[in-house]
Symmetry: C2
Subunit: 153 residues, 2 copies
């Protein structure tokens, strides 16, 4: 559908979307995270077309979000795993889960729960300020131009 490329916009949201903005990518990431990392497993569990899966995996590998590694020499077999860059992307997944749980889960309740190693409890993510550690959301910040801002008229 001749998708507009976002990669060179002066916006970190656009650049992030350029990497994982395509709808299947977060789901692929989620599955790789929970250990579903082989081609056929991914294809079947997501119900994605094999062609599109091939394209997405290649894109994610080229963008250093996933790595493709051989887990068997003979016969040659491969699986996909998260890189450091990809692991940090999972923050995004956790925030998506949080929002989805709050606004779309309905009667049944959340489909998955997180148990935090540090406290052993079932919790969810909250956004805090990296400086003062207090809660931070879009209603309690000012948005200022940064060094990488585009010079706009």
């Amino acid at each position: 559908m001749q998708r507009t490329r976002f990669g060179d916009m002066a916006c970190s949201i656009a650049r992030t979307l350029d990497v994982i903005g395509e709808s299947w990518s977060p789901l692929i990431l989620r599955n790789v995270l929970v250990g579903i990392g082989r081609f056929d497993q991914l294809q079947q569990s997501l119900g994605i077309s094999r062609k599109v899966l091939t394209e997405r995996l290649k894109w994610l590998v080229d963008n250093d979000v996933l790595e493709r590694r051989r887990y068997s020499e003979r016969p040659p077999r491969y699986e996909y795993a998260l890189t450091a860059k990809g692991t940090e992307l999972c923050d995004l997944l956790m925030v998506m889960v949080r929002w989805g749980d709050r606004w779309t889960a309905g009667e049944a309740g959340p489909p998955v729960l997180y148990r935090h190693h540090a406290c052993g409890e079932i919790g969810h993510v909250e956004l805090h300020c990296s400086v003062c550690d207090r809660p931070m959301d879009v209603t309690c910040i000012d948005i200022l131009p940064g060094p990488g801002a585009a010079v706009t008229a």
Copy 2:
């Protein structure tokens, strides 16, 4: 492109993607957040096709992420604004910004900065556990099935 619908998967990520998974939606949200809420403004600042913008806005309004409100009676004029549901989605934007800043900003540095009202400093978001307030990411949790999990064989 006969996109697969995610809305009825038993997965909060999929359901969140169903609402804002299309690539333009987060950018529309970002613009509405910073006060760019009128049709022509959005169309010009994003470079999106008018047809697609119409479709996206309708989808976001129907899903209660944005509201369309009249700010002038005669001539009739409308603008789009965030609902509570949409405002909480901005958490996602902040996490995208954080990842984009870290991994894609390059030489120039981040295009925007956040000043946190609570401390007055420039900071970024970090994910903390809702129970113990300590940092939480995907490497320090167990993922358990919740009440809304699909019964899979």
